[in-house]
Amino acid sequence: MQNEKLITDRLTIGYDSDLIDSISLEIRKGKIVTLIGPNGCGKSTLLRTLGGQLSARGGTVYLDGRNMQLLQGREIAKKMSMVMTTPVKTELMSCREVIEMGRYPYTGMLGILGEEDKKAVERAIAMTGTEAVADRPFDAVSDGQKQRVMLARAICQEPELLILDEPTSYLDIKYKLDILGRIRTLAKEQDIAIVMSLHELEIAMRLSDTVVAIGDGKIRRIGTREEVFEESFIRNLFGIEKADMELAGSLPWLPETESMEAHKEPHTKAGKPAVLMIQGTMSGAGKSILTAGLCRIFAQDGYRVAPFKSQNMALNSFITEEGLEMGRAQVVQAECCKIKPLSCMNPVLLKPNDDNGSQVIVNGVPIGNMRADAYFRYRKELIPKIKEAFDKLSEMADIIVVEGAGSPVELNLQKDDIVNMGLAKMLDASVLLVGDIDRGGVFAQLLGTLSLLSKEDKARVRGLIVNKFRGDRNLFQDGVSILEEKSGRKVLGVVPYLDVRLEEEDSMSERLSVKEVRQIDIAVIHLPHISNFTDLDVFAQIPEVSVRFIESSGETGCPDLLILPGTKNTIADLQWLKEQGFAEEIIKAAGAGTILIGICGGYQMLGRKVEDPEQAQCEQGLMLLPADTVIEREKVRSVYLGRIEEAEGNLQVLNGKPVKGYEIHMGKTTPYEDVHMFTSGKTGYCRGNIYGTYVHGLFDQKEIFVPLLSVIGEKKGVQIRPEETVSMDEYREQQYEKLAKGLRECLDMDEIYRILGGKR
């Protein structure tokens, strides 16, 4: 706790109305936190609130762990000082007098400076290089000198935290560098925590330890420079998606991964991207995986690639860093492209409800629930939205790989089609048709589909791919000839059944439904409304570990780690747990000291009760953690960067380890007794070997899963080899590379590039 000078807890700021809410920030000793964002986004308001100039509209600011509202002005002044944007106007005050003011909280009743105070003033003057102007009138020195003097005043206050509101405005480059250099020295040498707002992004990029991006009435991103200074994000933050940046000089974002540098000649003229569309003869033909693989191949070859799917239907969505929802398949594909997932890659997302309708999400934002017939009538109106999203994406890519949906020849649905041929026409895409040989009838699939297409659409199909071939491909040589002869198109490849593990969209992966018990046994309760089960994917790479999804209480056995996963309906699943007898088993296992981790909905179940005021429902929880949950309508969707705070029990080894993940839940869980915090930022609590957290992706980092498995392994005498494991990010990366390699072996890439109109 010592390192955190300032913590905000769900802080709401604003003057007459709420400007930004739920701000959770941590400002640490010796670190520089920079606020960036467009004019008027609330940077100054936030700084003024942190500095106590403006009272918070909600939430709390803790200074050195103490609620700032309860502190005396003088106590605060000894810990925190400020430098504001607007230069001060004084009358007949020398610079030294201004600086001496900083001693205010330390001097006596009449403000007479003692020896110690005088020394502090001299130190501050020396530190800011203001000796020469110290005895000159403050009004007569330049703005740059004034700023130095104001900085000296702030230093003189001997703060542990320094708040600066745009310390470099009004300054020329010389003073800009000078002031910023001094600020950095303060952080590094005096170990002062620094928060400041900056307009100059390039400087913020170089100077900051943590960057807080504010825009659209919320904190858009908090993270390291690398995490925030990303072209697409910065452009979006400042609303300059299409602006020509030439005038601004050096670019205010970090160069992206190698693919950008290796950028080859553009594929088509005038920056218009080449569009390749993968359509299947049926759903499940392998479009997603082929799209992902092609994305990675193009990225490997140095192109800027982006995936696109106009409409996705899936239960689980992904939350982008802007807090927008999109389909997970495009997330995987974006990762294959080595770019961040953006909601414009999947402008329409349908999430089926229980009752024969779907939640319709357009450009990441839910617009309502619709029944199928209503949606079919409505979807025409989505065409401009889709086009808009695609155009946005076009700005960022040389090649866009579009994934179709289902079959392009659902003849009854062809009117106003926005997912297959209708889309291909709109985007002027070259189409590759994929058939699934594993399910049989591949000739009928491919040739039949072609023959059902209109002449114009048929002309768009530039090649065929046979997917999921098992066995010796040479044996299918005749088949290829027949297909080519009958279709008049090249077969671009016969793709074997690839053993690649990608995050799958909805169904649970087969590998996770193993029932065998290995040396380290992880059991996950398969709740009826289970969601976001990717949390445990990281364990798939470790041969000693089995992850069992158990559906009936008899299967529980004696796992080393028992997981209560996330759910879309906590109360219903909690009732189910009790009905199935799981509840007793879990409580018994917890009593026996089994490590029990509840994630998201599972965490909510571990508490005393789960209350849904809107539905007037309240269900007693498992009473394993002293916390109550209230379900709220407002959905928390955010990227999480934190750490394990003060775990008890076996997971103590994880304390202080960084956690990267995301939160997506509706509800707030508050402890009613003193209990240890598990994941920082009040996102989870623990007691003994029972842990709960809202953070998904908790295990994904090597720093977490290796010590976790080691602790379990030690108990059982099992050795796991951490050097052979990788973090989830790396693991996925390996899989993408493997996929690309596999596809390159069987696809005629030269021909595909030719179809795209580019030379190799």
Partner: protein
């Protein structure tokens, strides 16, 4: 460097003030020589008339000028700090006029009831009036952030109060009119030693209070935001500033009627002579300066057309308005 300067200024001011006190005791329609005066003051004379003139008329008048002049300047300084604006003063903001109104009201009603208002009662009534006028100004200042507009509003409030006072005078009994008229013109005549005692107590309290506030006032010079950052309790400071300045201005008005311009001009003159705005030196400096100026003006008021006395406000206006104008012009320049 600046310490030396302020030291010299203090010594000079004190010496000048002492000289002025002597001169003002010596001056008057009845000629009393220097030797005679000294012997009266040291108690070595039998001339009862002279002793009476000096002890009951001239000395109280000189002391009142010192104390009230100091108080007026102090009130101006505190208000200028409060509004962070050098062209405000108790007279400009209508405080003096407010005090005048309530005092006039009390005088008339009590006189008509056959009672005579006591000195403390006067101070109290004046303070009430001052606070009411100030209350109006503050109320407006919540809405109007523009300082010039605020000053104009203050002047308006002043006019309203004066108008009401005039109305009262018009309909008052003849006997009270004379009294009231003299008083409302601003005059230091007719102040007794007892009055001096009361004003000393009140003004000493205000002065001591201001000295104790000198530290936060100093921090306040950097603006509210920085002052807050240094741990100044802004709300408390502002309340105290208002109370102290109103009380001083009220006390002055109660005893001497409204005396204009001393409050605005003195702080300005003093800070330019001292070349500093440090409240630790400004507060005593302003007090001395105000005392000196008022004493000087009073001297002029009673000698220039002797034996007729001019109202002290006329003198202060003639002498100090140029100062205020120069100050406003300079301020205009700084803004551009």
């Amino acid at each position: 460097m600046s310490k030396k300067r302020t030291g010299i200024v203090f010594v000079l001011l004190t010496m000048l003030l002492l000289c002025m006190i002597c001169i003002s005791i010596l001056l008057g329609s009845v000629r009393i020589g220097l030797g005679e005066t000294v012997s009266v003051l040291t108690g070595h004379t039998d001339d009862a008339t002279h002793a009476n003139i000096i002890w009951n008329i001239r000395l109280p008048r000189a002391l009142a000028a010192v104390i009230l002049g100091g108080a007026l300047a102090l009130s101006g300084y505190l208000l200028q700090t409060f509004f962070a604006n050098p062209i405000v003063g108790p007279f400009v903001l209508g405080i003096s006029s407010g005090a005048k109104l309530t005092v006039a009201l009390c005088m008339i009603f009590l006189l008509s009831a056959g009672k005579i208002i006591s000195a403390t009662g006067m101070v109290f009534a004046a303070f009430l009036g001052a606070m009411i006028a100030m209350g109006f100004v503050l109320l407006i200042s919540v809405k109007v952030k523009n300082m010039s507009l605020l000053v104009v509003c203050g002047i308006m409030i002043g006019y309203i109060c004066s108008a009401v006072t005039d109305l009262l005078v018009t309909f008052a009994d003849d006997s009270s009119i004379v009294n009231l008229h003299n008083w409302s013109m601003g005059s230091l005549s007719g102040i007794s030693m007892h009055d001096v005692l009361i004003m000393t107590v009140v003004i000493f309290f205000c002065f001591a209070g201001s000295v104790l506030l000198s530290k936060p006032i100093g921090a306040y010079r950097l603006g509210e935001a920085y002052a807050k950052n240094m741990g100044v309790n802004i709300r408390m400071l502002r309340i105290l500033l208002i109370l102290l300045s109103s009380l001083s201005a009220a006390c002055v008005t109660a005893f001497a009627g409204p005396i204009s311009f001393v409050g605005i001009a003195t702080p300005h003159l003093i800070k330019n002579i001292m070349k500093t705005t440090k409240p630790q030196v400004m507060i005593p400096g302003v007090f001395l300066g105000g005392a000196l100026i008022t004493l000087l003006c009073d001297g002029i008021a009673r000698t220039v057309f002797a034996p007729t006395e001019v109202s002290i406000s006329s003198v202060t206006a003639v002498l100090l308005v140029p100062v205020v104008i120069v100050m406003m012009v300079r301020r205009k320049k700084e803004v551009h």
